[in-house]
Amino acid sequence: MQAVPDGEVSSFLVGDAASGDSVEVRGPVGGWFVWKPEDSGPVLLVAGGSGVVPLMAMIRTRDGMDGAPFRLIYSVRDPEDRIYDHELRRRATEDGGLDVTVVYTRTAPEGEPRPTGRISIDDLVSYGWAAEQEPTCYVCGPTGFVETVANLLIFLGHDSSKIRTERFGPSGP
């Protein structure tokens, strides 16, 4: 857990909650940041840090379906920050039509050809979809990350109505 200054949930989990405590969770709620299996068009998923979590739910929902091809671009600081590392490696091999690219902002594993750095327009061109293919784009991460990626996608010609975003506050990679 990473405490966000003034964060309602993270400060409770980091400061007050103890191992063994019960937590009641409501949800899922909200219908906007959702991928439905009947949507057959290509999908671009762009994650900043723990923003990969709702996108992973979409990848798991897609499990075993032939439909929409997915491309995930996942930005992390360091190799050890990768959430779902094992599962994503397995799915990138086994799930047909799922491409996974991890970009590193601070430290990359040995042999990684891409220089470390924040996600760029080159990454979206190399690992995403061309705007002409009209992918639905789901972008989740810290506010700055989400706004940067959404602006780059619009610059690349993606229709803003095809870009869905979820921000979780100011911190992050």
Partner: protein
């Protein structure tokens, strides 16, 4: 990036409190801003978390569209920043059939 933007959440954060009082999912509904006329899915509003509640602003002009405040026994809901709210009644989100 200004300080206001850095503090921002988005309208997805409204889903929980709105689901407590409305029977339909409202973050995919389209609200029209009374200030500038921009129509936006509520999920795309810029949301500021300010005790005791949430403030949702128009992505077009930053006008306040939604205010939600909680007291120990009530929820206060101010939608006066919107001149209309379009709620999709069949399957599918308001985005796909938007006006």
């Amino acid at each position: 990036m200004d300080a206001q933007t850095e503090a921002g959440y988005d309208g997805n954060a409204l889903a929980g409190p709105l689901s407590e009082v409305f029977a339909v999912e409202l973050t995919t509904a389209v609200g029209r801003c009374r200030g500038c006329g921009t129509s936006s899915q509520l999920a795309t509003l810029r949301v500021y978390s300010l005790e005791p509640g949430l403030v949702g602003r128009c992505p077009g002009c930053e006008e306040v569209l939604v205010r939600i405040a909680r007291t120990p026994h009530a929820m206060w809901l101010d939608l006066s920043g919107m001149s209309a709210l379009r709620i999709q009644m069949s399957n599918g989100s308001a985005a796909e059939t938007g006006e």
